[in-house]
C-alpha cells in the first residue's frame, strides 16, 4: 500500500499476494484516502497482535527456563546417584544394576 507519483499526479496503489506474487492494484483517487486508512488500521492491528504474541511467548519461555533448571538439577543428581550406586542405563532406557557392583 503506497502513494506513487505518475507524472505530476500522486496515485495510491494497494498490494496483494496473488498466486505467490505481489500484485499492485490501482485505487481510484476518490477511494484512496479511505483505503489508506483501512490499510493503516489493519497494519496497526497486525503490529499489536505480533507484540502480544511476542510478549506471551517470552513469558512462556521464561517460565519454561525456570522449570528446566529444576529438571536439570534433579536429573544430574539422579544420574550421579544411579551411576555411583553401580547402575547403568541400558540402551538409553531403563537403569540396570551392573554385575558385581
Amino acid at each position: 500500500m503506497s502513494w506513487e507519483t505518475r507524472g505530476n499526479r500522486r496515485v495510491y496503489y494497494e498490494a496483494a499476494w496473488v498466486n505467490g506474487r505481489v500484485v499492485k492494484r490501482h485505487v481510484p483517487a476518490l477511494m484512496a484516502p479511505m483505503v489508506e486508512q483501512v490499510a493503516e488500521m489493519r497494519r496497526r492491528e497486525r503490529e499489536a497482535s505480533r507484540q502480544k504474541i511476542q510478549a506471551a511467548r517470552k513469558e512462556l519461555a521464561d517460565l519454561e527456563a525456570v522449570v528446566r533448571a529444576v529438571v536439570e538439577v534433579a536429573d544430574v543428581a539422579t544420574r550421579a546417584a544411579m551411576l555411583a550406586a553401580g547402575y547403568r542405563k541400558h540402551n538409553r532406557g531403563e537403569w540396570r544394576k551392573q554385575r558385581g557392583k
Binding site: S49, I53, L60, L63, V71, A81, L83, A84, E94
Partner: protein, 183 residues
Amino acid sequence: MASDPKPRSPRDQAVALNALIERAGNGDEGAAKQIRATLTELPGLADIGGNVADEAEKRLVASYAGKCLGTREFVTQKLKNLRAELGGATALPLEKLLIDRVVATWLHVSYLEFKYAATTSMDVTLAVYYQRAITAANKRHLAAIKALAEVRRLALPAIQVGPNVLAIDARGSHGSSLPAIGG
C-alpha cells in the same frame, strides 16, 4: 574433602558432574569412581536443587496467581498437599529433589492449561504455541513422575546432605514404606 577447596559456582559443579556422568555412562570406570569422590566434595547438590526449585515455585505461583492473594494461598496449599501426598516430609534428599521436580512440572502444566483455557480469544499462532508448550510440559511432568518412581523402585542409596557436603549413604528399605506416586 578436597585439600585445596576451589571456589566454583553450583553451575560449574553441575557441568563438571554432568561431564563425568556422560563418561561413566559410556562405561568409563574411572569416571564412575570420580563421581563417587566428587559427590563427597561437592556442596549439597540437593540444597542447590532445593533452592532452584523454590525459586521456580515462587515464579510459577506469582505467574499463576498474579495479584490475587487468595489464588496464591490456594495454589500454595495445593502444592503443600501434593508434596505430602508424594511423601515429601519423610523423603530422603534425592527423593525430595525429585518431588520438587514433580511439583514444579505439575504446577507448570496446570498454569499453562489454566492460561490457555482462561483466554477467551487467541491468535492461531499463539494457540499453536500454547498447545506445544502444554505437550512439552506434560512430557516433562510424566518424566518427573517416572524418575521418582524409578528411584523408589530401585531403593537407591540416598544422597545425604551434611553441612555443605554431599555424600552417598546406604539406604534401608525406606522406599517401600513411602506412599504411591499420584495417590
